[in-house]
């Protein structure tokens, strides 16, 4: 139905070859000829057929996003990241395809599937650090960008915010408010970010001359419920705590609710800091002090690295630590003497 090169050739009176060369801006075509051809193309509403193009030039102009974890897919997070990826893809005239898989098979199988679908590379999100799959990745000859999993190879890299720094600045924030007994509710171990945030927490404490106590650390699973349990547990074991840093906003909100249910005032009796800055962080009461990661630029960066690898086979991928910043809101405040709060 749509017009083809042949149609344009017929209408303009030149050969298919010349039309192709004219429309692609090659030099060996007369300026007059080019104009006529462009005119004809416009009249016929001609657009090149991408399938045919890709078939002959073995270049692909599409990237894919594999989302393995449907839980995290449902938060606003991934939407922002997709948003960034879309914009970056658009500026490079790339398409963005989305895939949902529960598990990734072998790396080779995945690469074949990608190639078959015409992808030049893929971003993978939601991978757990305990997947065997990860080990195969660095060797793979197919451009891959991971989200929050540290893998690097000639055709593979990853994007992440600097979780260590982020967690550290959360602790610093609390310490600078006078807190000395700061607990942490962490995410599950299978997430790389958990390890990083824990490390940041520890570094923050050390930096302020505070001691690291195992009993101050509770391992949850990023869920609200685990945040609730974490707060309960931490306070039962350490009634002296005046601050809690949670490795996700969802856990922080769980903690918030639990603390308030226990009759504690936030931030009067105890301060809470989250991580992520999801939209609800600003809607809870008190609004959550948290570490903000900009998922939009995150997505843009992931797509940018991927496309660079695809377009330039010699490109050496590059890991960039995105900054994340503290957003002070109502849930954190200076230490006060017990009970003395309005």
């Amino acid at each position: 139905m749509p017009a083809t090169l042949k149609d344009v050739a017929r209408r303009s009176g030149f050969s298919v070859t010349t039309v192709s060369r004219a429309l692609n801006g090659h030099s060996d075509v007369n300026i007059e000829t080019r104009k006529k051809i462009e005119q004809a193309a416009r009249e016929l509403n001609y657009f090149p057929n991408r399938m045919a193009q890709q078939l002959v030039t073995r270049k692909t102009n599409a990237i894919g996003l594999y989302s393995l974890d449907r839980e995290t897919f449902q938060n606003q997070f991934i939407a922002l990241m997709i948003s960034g990826m879309m914009d970056e893809a658009t500026t490079h005239d790339f398409n963005l395809l989305l895939f949902a898989t529960q598990r990734l098979m072998t790396a080779e199988e995945m690469v074949i599937q990608c190639k078959q679908r015409g992808l030049g590379g893929a971003v993978i999100s939601g991978l757990r650090t305990d997947e065997a799959f990860i080990a195969e990745l660095p060797a793979v000859e197919f451009p891959i960008v991971l989200v929050d999993v540290p893998v690097e190879g000639p055709r593979a890299t990853y994007v992440s915010v600097n979780n260590v720094l982020g967690a550290r600045s959360a602790v610093e924030h609390l310490a600078s408010l006078g807190h000395t007994a700061i607990g942490m509710i962490n995410g599950h171990d299978a997430a790389w970010v958990s390890q990083e945030r824990l490390q940041g927490y520890k570094e923050g404490l050390l930096q302020h001359g505070l001691q690291i106590k195992d009993s101050y650390i509770y391992t949850g699973d990023f869920s609200k419920e685990s945040g609730r349990r974490g707060a309960e547990h931490l306070l039962a074991a350490n009634p002296e705590l005046t601050a809690i840093f949670a490795a996700s906003d969802l856990m922080a909100v769980g903690a918030l609710e639990q603390l308030q249910a226990m009759g504690l005032e936030v931030p009067g009796h105890i301060s809470v800091v989250g991580f992520d800055d999801q939209d609800f962080a600003n809607h809870v009461s008190p609004p959550l002090t948290t570490i903000r990661q900009d998922m939009y630029v995150f997505g843009r960066l992931a797509a940018r690295e991927l496309i660079a690898m695809i377009e330039d086979t010699a490109y050496t991928p590059h890991h960039v630590d995105l900054p994340c910043t503290l957003v002070p809101r109502g849930s954190s405040g200076p230490v006060e003497k017990q009970g003395g709060v309005d």
Copy 2:
């Protein structure tokens, strides 16, 4: 690099034609032959090249999602919808492409772009009812599904929840709790859902013999800030109000905050009901009573209709009203005598 049909032919000793027919399950190939060919294909790790396939069979196996409004893209909403679309696409072996555009040009132009990219149809979200674009849509010969914009044609339909019913059940809920002075904070007029929800609100009132007062209706723009202003405005003009129905959770939360800032207790003095059931609805305090729309099945349905249109040229698209259900939570309660609340 990947194996082609020719490779499989060479290895198995049959012709390209036979290999193709064998792999595609045609009947006129010997069972032994088929087995050998399948074996060879497996050994070579053969996967058909989608580009070539699509080039010759003019069938496409991809659908697209155009997102026009980046604001709404950023909520958890669209992520759930995409999630549903992905699953539906996957079960039909379709790809899902994402596009971001600020504005859609003419319908014809859009169709050409879609075809050029190999799409068989598109879902369009974030369209405003005042776009001229909409008028062209029913006539278009390309499968299209709209989100929350009522357009129907031989190759076009739309998905939506039953906003009238949803709004009505919100009002019924409040009325059954004894409320008789119920205000509404609506979204902006350019959204079709605003009109529908307003109508549902009115129907709900009438059904319970309550009067419709213009001063009880405030038109916002779906933002939290407009919810805040709406609450302030409504109560200033109508101090007798004991309940507010907001046409989005975000506005409901804005209203909630404003009411609390004004010293009113929710639900003690005044009840609030939202619409959407975004994730933060459950995290605010009190948790928001709201009308839940299941965006996952929403997405699935959109994709299902679209794919049906693509695969069966004779298929007459179908608009289905998805149900939406009231989720009673803490922000709504029975009317009480003024001031008598703990």
